[in-house]
Symmetry: C2
Subunit: 338 residues, 2 copies
Amino acid sequence: MQAPLTQSQENLTSSPLEDMSQYFSEDMLAVNTLILDSMESDVALVKQIASYLIAAGGKRVRPLLTLAGSALCGNVTENSHLLAAAVECIHTATLLHDDVVDESEQRRGNPSSNSVFGNQAPILVGDFLFSRAFQLMVRTQNIHALKILADASAIIAEGEVLQLSILGKLDTPLSTYFKVIEGKTAALFAAACESGALVGDASQQQQKAAHDFGLNLGMVFQIIDDLIDYAGDETVTGKKAGDDFREGKVTLPIYLAYEQASKEEKAFFESVFKTPSDKQTDFNKALNIIEKYDAITRSKEIAQGYYDQAITNLDVFPDTAVKTYMTQLLNFTLNRKF
Amino acid sequence: MQAPLTQSQENLTSSPLEDMSQYFSEDMLAVNTLILDSMESDVALVKQIASYLIAAGGKRVRPLLTLAGSALCGNVTENSHLLAAAVECIHTATLLHDDVVDESEQRRGNPSSNSVFGNQAPILVGDFLFSRAFQLMVRTQNIHALKILADASAIIAEGEVLQLSILGKLDTPLSTYFKVIEGKTAALFAAACESGALVGDASQQQQKAAHDFGLNLGMVFQIIDDLIDYAGDETVTGKKAGDDFREGKVTLPIYLAYEQASKEEKAFFESVFKTPSDKQTDFNKALNIIEKYDAITRSKEIAQGYYDQAITNLDVFPDTAVKTYMTQLLNFTLNRKF
């Protein structure tokens, strides 16, 4: 039996993903080989740090989406494998950097790379993996695929800086929150699906639909992730609720509650997001206000809106097993409790 | 009059570079516009940090080498501009990350980005500029150019990690030092020249020669840079000698002196590189041992070897003004005192 997961970001771990991993098992074998090859380096410390995080698990959600993007349109080819591996390298690079930026202590249930190796080397190994990602893309000889992933990488970095720059600020417009989670999660989901579709011989319409599907799936995923931080069942999530709260990250449930809050409640939010609090009493008070204004239900309704769009995005693809998996993945992502 | 430069890395600032900037003034105008455009972002903090470093100066050595690579073979085109800007974006991204890794306080005579903005945002803005570099390359539609620069980026990151992992270790082979400075400087010089040559319609022989020229020039540059840290005239360099010594970075003069040092001198080096020392007496003692074993002269002889190769690399190119500039740049790089 697996150890309980402590990283909600990677908790897309029920049957749809397992089923897809099974369905794409031969392809994923090839993708994993490419990922492992990408960590190779004459510099021992590079390999050590890169392997440390990649070996620690992760559900390979993004590579699976790349393969699915190809399969939805036509065939999974060697280029799909290369892009799937590239996407995972980009993802891993961002995790290495995010953990340094957030001073994270844990990642995927293990001590984070920065906890083990300090801040310096993980920054540089992130750069290395990012370079490796582009080397993998170059091997496809497909300049459009490179464009899709270079554009996504810029959006990811911008989203992360935006998240930093609004830390604790409750007066930022809701659109800013959506831009942050697009950068944090949805942009790479979109690029994974779109680049997969591109090399799967998608029509232009299908390529756009694959992009939009990934984007909407990513938005659902991140909104639910943010909501679970206030509404998750700890016995199921295996992680302590309130991480975002303690880090001063203003997420959707807080935005929605704050909008309707009384003067006094607003003042409370302003104080605990200005100077993040790790007091359980403060967290409980926040939970009460969130509940009072029905902010969890309303957050989920917003996620449902993205879900509905994603379902529509699938219309242009022929009915296949992979299309069914995509629908199941969407359902699971919206309804997961952990 | 310019303020004294404090960053030796950017001290290639005598006439050859100024002459080249003049010669390529229209092209450099286009390149600078592309660089400025690359810093554009809806996220204010991204633009602020990217501009901070880029506006602080820098001699645009690498973009000039890209333009020169094209000019040596044929014509400078819009693709040369795009790659020149891409190379500068990669360089700037590495500076942002290096300053965080090295906990630098100064860069180009100003407080470093990390001193001003903290460590978090500069890491992410580095990622952003790295992505922008690949977006610029994508615009050339030239997959080979992308390969050249993606490969170089991986070597750069590996070199930086290698440098970290041998910090203070005197028993590493000299070949490791050369690998470090290849990553630190020569790989991007090589890629700048080679990618410029590629889009300047170079023959395969010319493309290889451009790469090798850049590599050898970069090796000369970094060896002299490392040597100046022990032999530079502070009244000329405007910076305090001994930075590498105080940071525990083992560079060529130390390697060469250590090899021949007595048991007692070896023990001294081992102690001050194990726990870096900022005592002037220790630095002076190191200087004496370096002088005793003629390690500065011998370092310069090694640089001369790379210089000779670089001169030979230029043979395949027709005689042009730019070829003359390249020779002058080499001479200047070998003989600079700052």
